[in-house]
Amino acid sequence: MIPLVTEADVAFWIAGPLAVLGALGLVLFRKAVYAALSMAFTMVNLAVLYASLDAMFLTVVQIIVYTGAIMMLFLFVLMLVGVDTPDSVVETLRGQRVAATLAAVGMFALIVFGIGGALVGVPSVGLAAANAQYGGNTQGLAALIFGRYVFAFELTSALLITAAIGAMILGHRSRIHHRPTQRELAERRMDEYASAGVHPGALPNSGVLARHNSIATPALLPDGSVSPESVSAVLAARSEIVDSVTLSAATAKVFDSIEATRIEEADE
């Protein structure tokens, strides 16, 4: 029986299961975006646990770095790339599963022995005494990071900067051609207008008929013919264009009859 005495206990029994649920969601959801969101949810719950243990700085950093930056980038890539298909089950790297199992067992052992050792082997000073040493939790962390562990801290930052520069170099592509500026584009449009009479303004809008106003509807010119610039070339290539001429045939017929009547009247 675990007594629910302190706020930290209550917070643990609320946020702990939620964090586990999020972790399960990460593995079990079929949609990649949902999996990423479950992970973000787990991160937030871990932050709540830290907060209940009076580690405010760790809480906030957990949310800013993991939820705010890293998971946001994951989500960003997933949305941009649009990962929908489930991964194939064919093993592409040989011996990958064995290695992964070994690594998991090793990791688990590390966690168990690490936490166990910390619980049993080291005499506990208590949070109050540890905080009082430097005048607060944040100050204590700062003293450790920038004092005792400054070398490890700097090495980590060097590693991260190396990774960032590596990513930039991998992602860098030098332009073969000069990228036209807005001004050059405008000048080119005016030149084309002067030399070939190409209309310098925006392309015409798509058409609006009685039953269709989608971008696949070509606009009709005053003489009833179709304006080819009014629809996207992609849609034209897929031949998904609404047949404006057929749709407007009824109108054209009425117009023709009116015209015919007029001509007749003029003849008389």
């Binding site: 975006v33 969101l37 809480t59 949305m79 005016m190």
Partner: protein
């Protein structure tokens, strides 16, 4: 300070009501002020000064049909506005409205929670709020929404870097990340030329580069004009809220206005002395009463909101690549250099406790030199040649107006009424 539960409840309720009422006021305020700037009246018909208009608009949104398009991801479509709204309200938990007061026999601050890492909490809450915009974009299952959501998240992440860097020097200067202590530290007196006229040492003065960077990045952070690219109506209809309507749309609207007030409140707290009275009112002792703190605070925040409206009424929208270039290639490097300069300065000041002004001057000069090198060290385009000589009405093949220095042929003989004759092409 450990408040009893009933005091926390009172503070939460008051904060919630104040934020809702303030948002409604701000909607009206923005429309009236931008109306003034554009030589029109804005809403004046309903209620005193047209105040009823904003209320009626809010009510209209609440009772409109809450429409969910058929192809959306329903779970996230509903969850997204909740995240955005919650984050917008949560940020105000650490904003100090006033100093230490006594409420029903309990000594407390006029703020919901004074955390030792208060300002970082603000950054954390903002970064969670981005999820509301990104998920709205993705779950709507529409290209406009997706592009709006991606733009919004890219923009907020980029500008949060510059914003965070601008805040670092405040932490260095104050030695604390608690919002209450940052405000109290600005109470110290500034002595221009050794004369005490009651100026308070607000951070914007000493940390001017940080303040400028913060103000620029706070506009980017809230997706407001001229940085309102995520909802650029000429390109993306309404960005990530294209598919939203009714109450969910109202939440996004609310979140946008609260976020605008939030970043203004952070600027007030960190750089503008928070709830401290404005000089010269701080010389009058009764006006330093901590119960008057909220009034000073609201006045300052409202001035920042006026700045937002002013920018919206004045500046055209940025192009996306120019906007990103400003963030990554101007604001972040300048902020980094300023932090290094300021940190050096701070440690010098603790080592040699004399003449802080000269170090400030050195830092500012170094920063200005760097900024000038970065910003102005690029080849200048040659000024275009002004065509002289006779005017060709069809130069280049299409009709053109005369350039300066050219005169229309039919006007070349007309003598102008001014005393000095206009130079004709023949004279040049």
């Amino acid at each position: 300070m450990n408040d009893p539960w009933w005091l926390i409840l009172i503070k939460v309720v008051v904060l919630f009501v104040v934020l809702l009422a303030w948002t409604i006021f701000n909607v009206w305020y923005e429309r009236r002020l931008v109306g003034k700037m554009q030589h029109r009246l804005g809403p004046i018909m309903n209620g005193p000064f047209g105040l009823g208009q904003a209320l009626a608009d809010g009510m209209k949104l609440l009772i409109k049909e809450d429409f969910i398009p058929s192809m959306v991801d329903r779970v996230l479509f509903v969850l997204a506005p909740l995240i955005a709204g919650t984050a917008a309200f949560t940020a105000w938990a650490v904003i100090p409205f006033g100093g230490a007061v006594n409420i029903f026999g309990v000594d407390t601050y006029l703020q919901l929670a004074d955390l030792p890492v208060g300002v970082l909490v603000l950054l954390a809450v903002t970064s969670v709020g981005i999820y509301g915009f990104v998920l709205a974009g993705w779950s709507s299952n529409s290209p406009y929404s997706l592009l709006g959501g991606l733009r919004s998240s890219a923009q907020m992440i980029s500008y949060e870097v510059a914003m965070g860097l601008a805040l670092v020097s405040v932490f260095l200067y104050t030695g604390s990340m608690s919002t209450h202590q940052i405000v109290e530290a600005q109470r110290t007196e500034l002595l221009p030329f050794g004369i005490n006229i009651g100026f308070q040492n607000w951070n914007w003065f000493v940390l001017l580069p940080s303040f400028v960077i913060y103000v620029i990045s706070m506009v980017g952070e809230t997706n407001r004009a001229p940085f309102d690219l995520p909802e650029a109506e000429s390109e993306l209809v309404s960005g990530y809220i294209t598919e939203y309507s009714g109450f969910k749309y109202a939440i996004y609207f609310l979140a946008e206005y609260i976020n605008m007030a939030t970043v203004s409140a952070i600027a007030t707290t960190l750089f503008m002395g928070g709830y401290l009275p404005i000089w010269p009112f701080n010389l009058i002792e009764p006006l330093n009463n901590p119960w008057l703190g909220p009034i000073w605070f609201v006045i300052k925040v409202q001035l920042f909101i006026s700045l937002f409206v002013w920018l919206r009424g004045t500046l055209p929208r940025f192009r996306y690549d120019q906007f990103m270039k400003l963030g990554w290639k101007a604001l972040i490097p300048i902020a980094l250099v300023w932090i290094v300069a300021f940190a050096t300065l701070q440690s010098l000041r603790t080592l040699v406790t004399s003449g802080p002004t000269i170090y400030v001057a050195i830092g500012v000069v170094a920063l200005l030199v760097f900024g000038a090198i970065v910003l102005f060290d690029r080849p200048r385009p040659e000024p275009p040649e002004v065509p002289t000589g006779t005017f060709d009405a069809f130069a280049g093949g299409y009709p053109v107006p005369p350039m300066p220095g050219q005169v229309l042929p039919e006007q070349s003989t007309v003598v102008p009424s001014v005393a000095e004759p206009v130079a004709t092409p023949e004279e040049q």
